[in-house]
Amino acid sequence: MPRLPSQWCLRLLGGVIVSAILGFLLLPALVVTLAAFNSRAILSFPPESWSWRWFVKAIAYEDFQAGFHNGLIVTGWASTIALVVGAAFALALERYEFRFKRALETVLLSPLVVPHFTVGLGFLILAAQLGMARGYAVIVACHVVLVLPFVLRSVYISLRNLDPRLELAAASLGAPPHRVLTTVTLPLLLPGLVSGWLFAAILSFNEFTASLFVTAQRTQTLPVALYNYVREYADPSMAAISVMYIVVTATLLTLANVFLGLAKVLNVEHPR
């Protein structure tokens, strides 16, 4: 088929636009990565000479270590609690009809609408009212609220993709309800549960706005520690942390994708 010059131009233009958008998406990460390897003690771009020293400094910095440690505790608890609660609600929403189902759905997904600082502020006021110290419990509770919609969505989609006839077939073959759950339902939901947990963990570990309200010096998570650091210093150790963060997250997601088929969970795909 003869191609018109105008078609050829359109194709070229399309290619350029797509490349530009992709470049734009990756630009911040690229800039930060390059800045992290700058040997000079200022955040500048592009670097003039290269070094690992900021990685060493960042890892050795005590506030970052504490923040990382706190972050792991908060993230571990928050995403696990959110997973259990979210899975239970997802199951209820998918499998049962009840009054106020719509209302429940709206409430469960509402943290997507409420800004993070509002949630943080709310928990701060609540904690003060109840006379609770700004300990882990408040942070964990706050993070559970923030990540719950994501876990709920992930498990809900996995449940929707689960053919109920698989469970009926198992029952007809002699499996009592608890064995249907352990041999069919849970194994098939596993990718959804793991990816839900992983999303929750990534979001929670990253969360800054609400955490700023509910953490104290002793309990500050990594993003809060980074914020406090950047208020005083402007050296590339922040960029180094960012690079480590990107590498770890990307590795986790890749592993999850390889072992669990994350792509399958994220798309609504019907098993035959």
Binding site: L168, A169, S172, L173, G174, P176, V180, T183
Partner: protein
């Protein structure tokens, strides 16, 4: 549409008969089963007896209640009223996992995270059968369905036909009291479907397993079943052998749902006891009078005639109708002639004639005289 009384009598009359011989040859008994979903009644006081070893088909349009019936027998739904018994044991309240019933779903519902051997052996593991025994019975089952050697494949690595065989083996390996099949062939292409049907029938007969088969495909029902229950609007309209259902449909619904049929305008001449004479053009045909209760002599009736019971008229045969061939459709073994015959039928009359005759003698546009090839048919009062 009115439901003639006979349509329901055929089923409920039977329980007394079984009790007389102890019910030993009855595998499944439904007695006055009703199931509602909200305000809609899916099944309305249905009674049905399935004999041991028979292949009983529930045939009906979608939404008629046949799948609900299957789910009730399988234990996936509980009836609002009525009783269900298997092998003489009342199982109305028994959960699915203690019913000893094998089921094959339309999409086969193979466990995607298990390989073929694990799928087939699932029911045995749930029964805590010894490992060696499981391996032996799984191997036997796979041999039966001709899939030996594919034990380690995952379901997604199998073709549609293979998946179906695995689903069948999985259901049969537990030696179920009843095998339930839910539209099992609808996902297969035409050629595979035909061979799977033959194979299923063969396996079913070899094992002698009582089978309830749900389909909306009337030709499938006619070719596979020992008996057919035609289901419509939550009730069993007619219960009988495929030939009875095809030759002696009890009402207009069954007549037009099962097989192709021409509904021709004819005149009732007279009723002589159980037989009535109906005139279609110059032709005369005998019909059962039970379906014409209350029709007056010389009133118009609807004569139901199968396409193969019509033929182009010879010189001496009485002409039932005249028309013009609108189209001839080559079907391989035969030819379908579509004829415009306005005085007999507002739509088109369908004639099914042998291939050689149809192609050469009756091209489109030809004037044609139609005769009746059968001296018996069935007629109903106009709807």
């Amino acid at each position: 549409m009115s439901i003639p009384a006979e349509g329901r009598l055929s089923a409920p009359a039977a329980p007394a008969a079984t009790r007389a011989n102890g019910g030993a040859d009855i595998a499944v008994e439904l007695d006055g089963v009703t199931k509602r979903f909200g305000k809609t009644t899916a099944l309305d006081d249905v009674s049905l007896l399935v004999r041991r070893g028979e292949l009983m088909t529930l045939l009906g349009p979608s939404g008629c209640g046949k799948t609900t019936l299957l789910n009730l027998v399988g234990g996936f739904l509980m009836p609002d009223s009525g009783e269900i018994a298997i092998d003489g044991q009342r199982i109305t309240d028994v959960p699915a996992y203690r019913r000893e019933i094998g089921i094959m779903f339309q999409n086969y519902a193979l466990f995607p995270h298990m390989n073929v051997a694990a799928n087939v052996g699932y029911g045995l593991r749930m029964r805590r059968v010894a490992k060696g025994e499981i391996a032996r019975r799984v191997a036997d089952a796979l041999a039966l369905i001709k899939l030996a050697g594919l034990e380690d494949r995952k379901p997604r690595q199998l073709s549609g036909g293979q998946q179906q065989r695995v689903a069948l083996a999985r259901a049969l390996v537990i030696r179920p009291k009843v095998l339930l099949l839910d539209e099992p062939f609808s996902a297969l292409d035409r050629n595979l479907r035909a061979s799977m049907q033959v194979e299923l029938k063969e396996i079913q007969r070899k094992l002698g397993v009582t089978t309830i088969f749900v389909t909306h495909d009337q030709s499938e029902a006619l070719s596979l079943s020992d008996r057919i229950a035609v289901v419509a609007e939550g009730r069993i309209r007619q219960l009988g052998t495929p030939d009875e259902i095809y030759r002696e449909p009890i009402d207009r619904f069954v007549a037009s749902f099962v097989g192709d049929v021409n509904v021709l305008r004819a005149r009732l001449e007279r009723i002589d006891g159980a037989v009535a004479t109906v005139a279609l053009g110059a032709a005369r045909v005998l019909v059962p009078s039970r379906t014409l209760q209350g029709a007056a002599a010389s009133s118009m009736v609807d004569l139901f005639v199968r396409p193969e019971e019509l033929r182009p008229a010879d010189h001496d045969a009485p002409v039932a109708a005249r028309g013009i061939v609108a189209a001839q459709i080559y079907q391989g073994g035969h030819v379908d002639l579509y004829v415009d015959a306005p005085e007999a039928l507002s739509g088109r009359v369908l004639l099914r004639v042998p291939r050689h005759e149809g192609m050469s003698l009756w091209p489109a546009g030809t004037r044609i005289s139609i005769a009746l090839a059968a001296d018996k048919a069935i007629a109903f009062r106009p709807a």
